[in-house]
């Protein structure tokens, strides 16, 4: 469904950009590149758990197909 697709897309965009900034700042504060990379990896894993599997929340606005019409012509 289209509303759900747009929701998923928005989530991905916001979370990825936020996690980039967050992991840079956290790593800089703790002065360790390992922390930067691991926060970014954790955010990626969390994001994919939320977005990749087809949760039912993405299906709240299903597309309403038109009902099947009788054979037209012929």
């Amino acid at each position: 469904d289209f509303k759900g697709q747009k929701t998923a897309d928005d989530i991905v965009r916001v979370v990825l950009i936020a996690s980039t900034i967050l992991s840079f700042v956290i790593g800089f504060v703790f002065s360790s590149l390992m922390i930067t990379m691991s926060t970014f990896a954790l955010c990626t894993v969390a994001l994919s758990l939320v977005v990749l599997p087809p949760w039912p929340m993405f299906n709240h606005h299903p597309v309403t197909w038109l009902s099947v019409q009788g054979e037209s012509q012929k």
Partner: protein, 178 residues
């Protein structure tokens, strides 16, 4: 966004851009750290001996042996983006043709901040030999301690930490067994 494959595709595009931006930011951040460590370098002795070249044992050449005192503190160079520090001791001299020569005679790789202070009395690790095989026509040499910072992501930076105060002449060659 209608199937898992489409979602994976969409995420991976933005994800790879974000990774590159993150690494670029890390590389740029090492320009914020400016450190200029200084140290002390003394040459204890320099001797030149006749010997055979390594590859052609029938040919004679002159090899210099240097003993030196070295103390330096490189801890300010270690920031979050420093992977290792390559420290090396160079002999610089001008050949009679006017060409500048530099010979690396000792080096060390420093990987952790705790190992970054150096305080040793050491003899050289590599051979000090001139390309022409003889030191007799060569001008006096200056010895300098240089370092190279290798980051995880970013550009390599070079620097010089110590230098002998005055140039030191090469003594005449002598035979080693005498």
């Amino acid at each position: 966004m209608h199937s898992i494959y489409a979602r994976v595709n969409g995420i991976s595009a933005l994800w790879s851009t974000c990774v590159m931006v993150l690494l670029g930011a890390v590389a740029l951040s090492s320009f914020l750290f400016n450190a200029d460590p200084k140290g002390n370098l003394d040459i204890v002795s320099l001797k030149v001996f006749h010997s055979k070249t390594r590859r052609y044992p029938f040919r004679n050449e002159e090899i210099g042996f240097v003993k030196f005192n070295l103390s330096a503190d490189f801890t300010p160079l270690f920031n979050w983006n420093t992977k290792q520090l390559f420290v090396y001791l160079e002999a610089e001299y001008t050949s009679p043709q006017g060409v500048n020569n530099t010979v690396v005679i000792w080096d060390r790789i420093v990987r952790r901040k705790e190992d970054a202070t150096i305080d040793i009395v050491q003899k050289d690790k590599y051979k000090l030999r001139d390309l022409s095989g003889s030191f007799s026509n060569v001008h006096a040499a200056q010895y300098s301690l240089k370092y190279n910072v290798m980051p995880y992501v970013g550009v390599l930076t070079y620097g010089e930490a110590a230098r002998t105060v005055e140039a030191i002449d090469f003594p005449d060659a002598r035979d080693s067994v005498s």
